[in-house]
Amino acid sequence: MPVLEELRQAVVDGQAKAAVARATQGLEEGIPAEVLLRDGLISAMQEVGRLFEEGEIFVPEMLVSARAMNATLVVLKPLLATEGSEARSEGKVVIGTVQGDLHEIGKNLVAIMLEGSGFEVVDLGTDVSPERFLEAAEAGADVVAMSALLTTTMTNMKAVVEALGRAGLRDKVRIIVGGAPITDRFASEIGADGYAPDASKAVRKVRELLAVKA
């Protein structure tokens, strides 16, 4: 098996040590870092995503693969052209649960899935005020993602949309929302760009929104 394929398989299997070893070996064999990144790591994470979609693996396996990828990236990063390094990110997503809401596991899942799919994620945590969302968006974001699990906190999403509008950022970032009481219709009503009912669909939605934007 060529080293590239071994690297890819090591990441799919979540073998961080093996992945780092194969990447190092690949570099020694003269394979460019960009190729190891693209055909080794990124390709592996796509396979992981596919396996998850098909029910062959679960989030724990995705996390192990993501850790293997990250460990390998530490080795590759210094050798990647800046450009190549940036190409690694599909976009930057600021994420958090809205003010008053502590229900974070759905939000965490979305963050995990986005990272696994190559997005840079800034996780603001729970009970995030509109001001903190705004600050993070001002520091640079393509997407702001918010979740709420309560009927009494979902209304706080609107304040974030409005704050982004007042700051003149509304054209620059896409806004996506989710959580038990949230619907498509509610998303449109508050002026968000999209809604996703679960973590996998959130990733698809973010991709879709950024494609539209681009």
Binding site: E56, L102, I105, N108, G125, T151, T155, F186
Partner: protein, 459 residues
């Protein structure tokens, strides 16, 4: 402290809905577990803010919800009713607001008792706001103080039953779930949550004694129902969610060890075990709670329920009525059927139909099988401490799941089977020595997420 060393119910024929060894008289003359299953209705606000400006609307919403639901309960001649008020975070943080809503429900229940003879009890469940602080502060700070005040004020304002879905240990458990980390889950439930609950429930039991109300019970909702929801969307394996349910038993038992007497909280499916262990009446929920969350245990959860709940529904209009009233009607019919079976001497037969209809489709249903619960419950009680019981729950629970799979009691997809094996390997690593285990876990938990000192582990 009450020591539970053997099952209060160990005969499968006696383990059935509506009946328990220690019936409990609550509220307005309702006797729970004495042969009748009662509906437990819960409801919550529609999309709206809760603040000083909206409190008038909040009052109107709760008044409407309880009034319309009670009127329907009377129309349908329910033999009695428990209403649960799960306080929203904002209504816990302002204890006087929580008390006000409690008083609104109290007044309505008293009114229907007087006018129509509707027997009822009111359960109030403050929200566990302690994790608004990150990492959570469990025994100090404003959130804690407000929560304590809420218990007291709501008991004063007319609650008959006090409950909580406490979250101590969840800050560690969430990550354990997503990582499929059995040791992390056992640490969160068997060590952290159990330690937190011991202290928290001492307090709740004190408040209940002072106010002469009932300290009812807790729910591992944030642990085991989170797992169920993640399994339902295929984010984690169903066998893991099934196992976490069993792991949650020793943790939720702590409430009863400290003096709670039931009825256990509706969303605590571990109540199947807790009923066998404590002999107290328990609330459960399933098909009629699909409005609140989907589940793979819609029928089997009825098997040993003493209260049957809709979990929660917003006050929005369906075509037939406001959603809480729709739930009221559905619970009335569900409990009618169970009570009719009891009257006809067919309760265990109906129980077995509930059980058989779900149990072959999901391992999460399998671990709720009354016979499985009796067996695993006894094994858990053979151990002396929450940690050792949780470890035993892991070993015995996985054993039961492996046997169930081998016997074809349920089918697992290949990915699930793999996880059953992997979890079994992880369980073998759990040390018998609690000190060693804690040492190991303390060394690897993320200190940015948990204050171990709050659990008496750091000092």
């Amino acid at each position: 402290m009450v020591e539970y060393t053997r099952l209060a119910v160990d005969d499968l024929d006696q383990f059935v809905f509506g009946r328990c060894p220690f019936p409990l008289q609550v509220g307005d003359g309702l006797k729970l577990g004495d042969g009748t299953v009662y509906p437990e209705l819960n409801f919550t606000l529609p999309p709206m803010q809760v603040n000083a400006a909206t409190m008038d609307q909040v009052r109107r919403e709760y008044t409407q919800m309880v009034e319309e639901a009670c009127a329907r309960a009377v129309d349908l001649q329910v033999p009695g009713l428990v209403v649960e008020l799960e306080l929203l975070p904002d209504l816990t943080r302002q204890p006087q607001w929580g008390a006000e809503v409690t008083a609104i429900l109290r007044t309505a229940l008293d009114k229907y008792a007087a006018s129509d003879g509707l027997r009822s009890a009111l359960r109030v469940t403050p929200n566990d706001n302690r994790d608004f602080v990150r990492p959570p502060l469990l025994r100090e700070g404003e959130e804690w103080e407000k929560m304590v005040a809420t218990f007291d004020l709501c008991a004063e304002a007319g609650a008959d039953l006090l409950s909580i879905e406490s979250t101590g240990g969840k800050e560690v458990h969430d990550d354990a779930l997503l990582n499929g980390d059995l040791a992390g889950s056992v640490f969160a439930l068997g060590v952290l949550a159990s330690r937190d609950m011991a202290q928290l429930w001492d307090l709740i039991v004190d408040v209940a004694a002072k106010r002469q109300v009932v300290a009812a019970g807790d729910s591992a909702c944030g642990f085991a129902n989170t797992a169920m929801a993640l399994a339902d969307t295929r984010h984690i394996p169903k066998v893991l969610a099934a196992l976490v349910r069993v792991l949650s038993v020793p943790r939720s038992l702590v409430a009863y060890e400290r003096g709670a007497v039931g009825p256990g909280k509706d969303c605590a499916y571990e109540n199947v075990y807790l009923k066998a262990i404590t002999g107290y009446p328990m609330a459960l929920e399933g098909a009629e709670a699909a409005c609140a969350h989907l589940s793979p245990v819609g029928n089997i959860a009825k098997a040993v329920a003493d209260l049957w709940s809709n979990e929660s529904v917003q006050n929005i209009k369906l075509l037939g009525a406001m959603a809480p009233t729709v739930s009221m009607e559905q619970l009335a019919y569900a409990t009618r059927l169970m009570n009719e079976a009891t009257r006809a001497g067919q309760a265990t037969l109906l129980r077995d139909l509930f059980v058989a209809s779900d149990t072959d489709k999901d391992p999460q249903a399998y671990v709720l099988r009354p016979d499985v619960a009796l067996k695993l419950g006894a094994e858990i009680l053979a151990e002396p401490t929450p940690y050792l019981r949780t470890r035993r729950a892991a070993l015995a629970g996985l054993g039961a799941l492996r046997r169930g799979e081998a016997e074809g009691a349920f089918l697992l997809r290949r990915a699930e089977s793999n996880w059953l094996r992997r979890l079994s390997e992880q369980a073998e690593q759990l040390p018998e020595d609690e000190g060693h285990f804690i040492e190991e876990m303390v060394a690897r938990v993320d200190r940015e997420k948990v204050r171990l000192g709050q659990y008496g582990l750091d000092a």
